[in-house]
Subunit: 181 residues, 2 copies
């Protein structure tokens, strides 16, 4: 059983590099590992959120507001790629329950800039902690370059035409947003 793990891996790697072949042999291992790894990755927050009556949608909203305090509603819609109606329901719950507050923009008072409350930050950090625990556990089982290798792989997997925006978001996050831009 164990050897089956490695031998086909090399065969695939070679065939993927075969020139002139239109489509590479499917990389079943990465395809399926991404499915299972991502499912496990989100299961920790999912379980924690269920106790609050929240779902994955709340997590995503809370996460990005926590990471980008003062962001506009429109920015959040772009990041999440959902409609304002979908966001509305979830955001309203987070606001009503005191996890998020909205403040009118100083420059443009139509804007409702989003901030987590201390309560919201606590929850956001708790969820991030669960995910970080898993990542740290994983990286600890690998070599010292594993973090950088994982970063590079995930970045390379992004859509070409969205990569810069994602990298910018990750790099800039944590700083309050200018209320105008």
């Amino acid at each position: 059983m164990a050897d089956i793990n490695l031998t086909p891996l090399r065969r695939r790697a070679e065939s993927a590099e075969t020139p002139g072949t239109a489509a590479a042999e499917p990389l079943w291992d990465i395809i399926e590992l991404l499915f299972f790894a991502y499912r496990d990755f989100v299961s920790d927050p999912d379980d924690a959120l269920a106790k609050f009556g929240f779902g994955r949608a709340h997590h995503r909203v809370l996460h990005f507001i926590n990471r980008n305090p003062g962001m506009k509603v429109a920015d959040l819609l772009v990041i999440l790629k959902i409609t304002k109606q979908s966001l509305g329901r979830v955001l309203k719950q987070l606001v009503d329950l005191g996890y998020v507050v909205q403040k009118a923009g100083a420059n443009d008072r139509r804007q409702r800039l989003l901030y987590v409350t201390p309560k919201g930050e606590t929850l956001a950090m708790k969820l991030a902690g669960l995910q970080t625990d898993r990542i740290v556990r994983a990286l600890a089982a690998l070599g010292p370059d594993a973090h950088e290798a994982a970063r590079r792989f995930l970045i390379a997997m992004l859509d070409d035409d969205g990569r810069d925006a994602v990298l910018r978001l990750i790099a800039t996050a944590g700083h309050p947003r200018r209320s105008d831009s």
Copy 2:
């Protein structure tokens, strides 16, 4: 701006290894890259499936039947971690539209062993091809060890108590299942 990308990375890596620290500093980069990379990863099949009137649920079912011809309904439920009612609706459509067939088990005739039809295999391979294209593109932009590094990272990210089952599934898939087990 650009340097913000690297400097905090090292800081994080160090603090993650700091002994005695209960919770590591959140690994925002991996957390967010997993979100965006997975979303982009599934977007290619999603778009293709939309033209057939299918969704992500159909993809998952078709994928695992294609990979494990002759598998039992019960096995599929375990892999997907959904209920038979949820599977039922999706599976029925795939069968009605001629992508999947069910055959009574030879040993145990209560079982409905699942197989893709040629039509189903074509679609499954097309979807796997889209995902493989993205992975190949990503790995090509990285070093020769990138495939193995990605594999290791994703495997390490799995739940400890499900890792062996996933690895066994990936290793064994492609072979028809015994109808009894």
